[in-house]
Subunit: 513 residues, 2 copies
């Protein structure tokens, strides 16, 4: 990998102090099978609420509900009841963001992401009474405690279960919403902010339960929401320096970065994600006016552009073959060519903005040339006038993603973009959207053509529906038509507090107040 | 409980510094089902021995053999191989003293002792490479490492697995054996010493795997072996002060003591075990000549005698009813009356010895009176002249335990005792011996009547057979006729390094060299 140690050092010097707060369980609950409930699980209050007075023996269990999403460190105090304990206490803890994680046995998990993400611990406590501070960080709302074994001579009682929650998002920086805003939007804003907050740790994580790391695709949206809420510029700056300081061998920005045991970049390369470095830097400068950082990181942004345009073919279209991966969305059948052309043009335009700010005339001209070339090609090669849609790949696929990204790229005049989006809703092409990340871009596209009402309506239909389904924080994956959807083979492993789903607060605060 | 804090403080001031040593695995092995092997499991060398060069993925496992019994703290170094690890590593460690613990799934355990004794850990490692120092102490020879999950992007290699072994028995204090001793006895002595050493921690533990605590029945035998090997007088003194400083409400010495979180006595009361405080103190004084300790602890020893004789009925026999528990042996059908009468007389005689040493004439007279009363009663009430055996309980049970303990109590003249033991071997009463603890007393009885050859032969037939069956340390339970024997419902939970089985070194060094 290509390491610029001084940039990495700058990033590491910006590791934030986390804000901590104590959370305690609010109720004892039972998770009950219910076909009418989200994912088939209903949360009922248990009959006995006085969990601290219960005496538990082998085989007993209970579920605590903290009634809110938490990221942090769990501790528990447990004591023996009866004779002196003559054998270790064996406990199982199961922690879940959602009821399904408590109710569905983890043994049943058979997805393609590692089962090691499922949050459970089997612990042996040799000495009682004990205060156990679990060393790992968990992301959860519910904790199930199973007393796997005591001995014939003693039982146990739990005196305390608590969580020290952590975040680098300080809520005191958030401006209050105007009172005129509807309750629905105020609630959506609040849940979006909580989502962002729980993802703000020592980097902007994608999901604090899974994958717990910095992806640039998520970072871009988190940073945009952050500029209108927490205003933690240093955390964005740290993330930019991490990506800039550790790149793939040819200079491309990597898709994600790990922090431990020392900062290192992953070997995953995503065409669109490398380009988003340009957009992230642009957004950062516009929000922070931090010229020094812009000046230092500009060459790396420019390099992303130079690397990206090498993929344009003789017609000026990004080559679509087996040698690349552009993320765009999780849809298994989505052809990535046209939407990626949109991402390229979108990022070229942010690059042009940066060149202008820096007064680099030759770079402006270079980028303008690339924009012209890619835009012309998009119209000539990807626009199907008969169908009234952009098409993608050799099979000329018509997808929501292609239209949305080429609207965001502003390839067509704004009225034509507005008409294109209307046509999209009317004709509903089969290749739809699967993630809040893609929905974000739909909403952004609607606002960009002035369709604020439609945008707000779509926000309600998507994030509003998540709220009705019980979201405390917004989810990585959601399909109102298929509520057990997971691209990973099991909804147990989905992240239920996910960076790319936090943008309702951005839309509300940017466009709706 | 009856607490004498100054005695407890004296005990706590004697907590020993443990001697540590590093142990590393010697081989990779496979545990193979084999009906002809002990407990049905054979240990084979694995084909690949270079475990540090193996790359393991989900579902892989290997078994390391340290080729010797260990008590200590395990650490392991593990690194990722492949892409940067994008999910935690999930490992299962299974630690066993014996092959059965590695080969038989712990889920299958259904005994009455707590399954929490079974040594396993499921651990999640969030950051790789990692050096994991497991916080709990384990007792083992074999470690199985199961890689439960990695991710599609990485595998793992183990760079080091090690154990810091701990003991308070310093082997440099042990006198070498004379060269003339047979190899068989030399090996038996060595294994017995290792057994004792691994049980010597901050107290004399009964078994370092299970129960890991101080029982006075075990202490008595350990101390006797210790005086001929490690000579750690302070550790015995600490244990005596623990029992003396924390007694049951009526003043009886408890059966066992826990050290943590602070020293406390268990609520288990065993008639024979309380009395053994007298014998332990006697042995300690004879070995150490520590008069100060004897003087301080004598009143408590005397109190045990006073409490014990209250159980004698009008005929002078210990009452046998539902209100007591005398341990003697694990045999489920053993009537405890006659053997306990033997323990009482045996301990009264040690008490008399102490009173003489202290020159307490009135106490001598008192104890002599009790010895006279209990001995007379044993002969009158328990001796069945027709059968030539002592009988026990209303059903006049004839057991090995009754004969052995009444021989040790020297109720009959030595020649008659010798004849009684011969008769025992000839007639083989059905109620036999189930533990090395009971075997110890048989051997001691044989030596007491001068049958050294028979004693040595019995040692070979019992402990020698354990060695043939693969013992690195001597076991809590062993029946050459029933090798899967466990009074707990499963041989998985048996202790395979057990205090009360360490006495071959005592016999060898006291009687055979």
């Amino acid at each position: 990998m290509l390491i610029n140690q001084s940039m990495v050092d700058k990033a590491e010097a910006l590791i934030p102090e986390l804000v901590t707060s104590l959370a305690e369980p609010k109720a004892v609950v039972e998770i009950v099978a219910d076909e009418t409930a989200f994912q088939g699980w209903r949360v009922d209050q248990a009959e006995k609420q006085n969990w601290q007075e219960q005496v538990l023996s082998k085989g007993d269990s209970f579920v605590l509900d903290f009634e809110g999403h938490l990221v942090g460190y769990v501790s528990l105090k447990v004591k023996a009841v009866g004779s002196p304990p003559d054998a270790p206490l064996k406990l199982k803890l199961t922690l879940g963001e959602m009821p399904c994680e408590i109710a569905e046995p983890f043994d049943s998990y058979d997805g393609w992401l590692s089962s090691s993400w499922l949050q459970e611990e089997t612990i042996f406590i040799d000495v009682l009474p004990a205060e156990i501070k679990l060393p790992r960080r968990y992301t959860f709302r519910f904790i199930k405690i199973d007393v796997l074994d005591t001995s014939k001579k003693y039982n146990v009682s739990f005196e305390q279960v608590a969580c020290i929650a952590v975040t680098s998002g300080d809520p005191s920086n958030i401006a209050p919403l105007p009172e005129k805003l509807s309750d629905e939007l105020a609630l959506m804003d609040q849940i979006a902010i909580k989502t962002l907050q729980d993802c703000m740790q020592s980097v902007f994580e994608d999901g604090p339960k899974r994958d717990r790391r910095l992806w640039i695709g998520d970072l871009r949206l988190q940073a945009q929401a952050n500029y209108l809420t927490f205003n933690n510029f240093d955390l964005v700056k740290r993330c930019l320096y991490l990506f800039a300081g550790m790149r793939l061998p040819d200079g491309a920005v990597g898709a994600c970065v790990f922090e431990k045991p020392h900062a290192h970049v992953d070997d995953t390369r995503l065409y669109d994600y490398s380009l988003f470095f340009v957009a992230c830097l642009y957004d950062y400068y516009v929000a922070s006016e931090d010229l020094e950082t812009l000046q230092e990181l500009w060459p790396i942004a420019l390099e992303q552009i130079e690397i990206a345009v090498q993929r344009l073919d003789e017609k000026g279209i990004v080559r679509d073959d087996e040698t690349w991966w552009s993320f765009i969305d999780w849809h298994p059948d989505l052809n990535k060519q046209a939407p990626t052309q949109g991402v390229l043009i979108y990022c070229l335009k942010r690059g042009l903005g940066l060149a202008r700010i820096l007064g680099l005339t030759d770079k402006q001209q270079y980028i303008e040339g690339q924009i012209e070339r890619a835009t012309q090609a998009a119209v000539t090669e990807l626009w199907d006038d008969k169908k009234g849609f952009f098409v993608s790949g050799v099979k000329r696929q018509i997808s929501w993603a292609s239209q949305i990204w080429l609207v965001l790229a502003e390839v067509l005049p704004v009225e034509e973009n507005a008409a294109l989006l209307n046509r999209l809703f009317e004709e509903q092409p089969a290749i739809g959207m699967t993630t809040p990340y893609m929905y974000h871009h739909l909403i952004e596209a609607l606002f960009s053509v002035g369709s604020s009402e439609k945008a707000a309506e779509q926000m309600q239909a998507y994030w509003g529906e998540m709220i009705k389904d019980g979201a405390d924080t917004f989810w990585e994956l959601y399909n109102p038509e298929d509520k057990k959807l997971s691209p990973y083979g099991s909804n147990l492993i989905n992240s239920y507090c996910h960076a790319w789903s936090c943008t309702p607060t951005y839309f509300i605060r940017k466009y709706l107040i």
